[in-house]
């Protein structure tokens, strides 16, 4: 119930492509869904987040789509660049409970 399932495990796209990373959850009590970006040798950094009362959120080239009925959410990166190459983690949390992370997706954007 506390798990967040993330796919794919790895992803290779060409520059300008739109990589999509998907996450699914079971616990309908989750009320906050952040995404983290991690570069090699660094800690994960908060990228963008969404709440279940919103179906889509955009910040720059990053978009979260949220499907509450399907209990799924996804990250889209528009016009991807080689500098976007990193590992991306989705997560879910709810008040008074720990943050639960997905297993991560290693994205490589090739020039």
């Amino acid at each position: 119930q506390q798990q967040v399932k993330q796919s794919p495990q790895s992803l290779i796209v060409q520059k300008g492509g739109i990589p999509i990373i998907n996450c699914a959850y079971e616990n309908t009590a989750f009320d906050y869904f952040p995404w983290y970006q991690q570069f090699p040798g660094k800690g994960p950094a908060l990228l963008i987040a969404i709440r279940p009362d919103v179906s889509e959120k955009k910040e720059g080239r990053f978009t979260i789509s949220f499907n509450k009925s399907a209990k799924q959410f996804s990250l889209h990166i528009m016009d991807s660049q080689p500098g976007d190459s990193a590992t991306y983690f989705c997560a879910a949390s709810m008040g008074y409970q720990k943050v639960t992370f997905g297993t991560g997706t290693k994205l490589q954007v090739i020039p």
């Binding site: 906050y32 800690g43 994960p44 008040g95 943050v99 991560g104």
Partner: protein
Amino acid sequence: EAGVTQSPTHLIKTRGQQATLRCSPISGHTSVYWYQQALGLGLQFLLWYDEGEERNRGNFPPRFSGRQFPNYSSELNVNALELEDSALYLCASSRLGGMNTEAFFGQGTRLTVV
């Protein structure tokens, strides 16, 4: 505002020794989480502390332990180090109960066991 700080940045220990890793959360954050990230792998949840108490523990042996101090800083101890304990250990902090329960990570401690 200072972020989550971890020390040391790098730590090299011999098999069988003990390692102590430290974490200072963001001011106002009461929860501290510890994660292990082995090379190329995801975040493996280790421990969660809030208000000085252990709230949850991941699937790790008892030689992984820790504590949270009254100022909310935290310490992770790994006893009887094994070669496979070599990893990046990440600390994160968050508030609990409010609208913003996102976790902020430190830069990690790279532990190498030789």
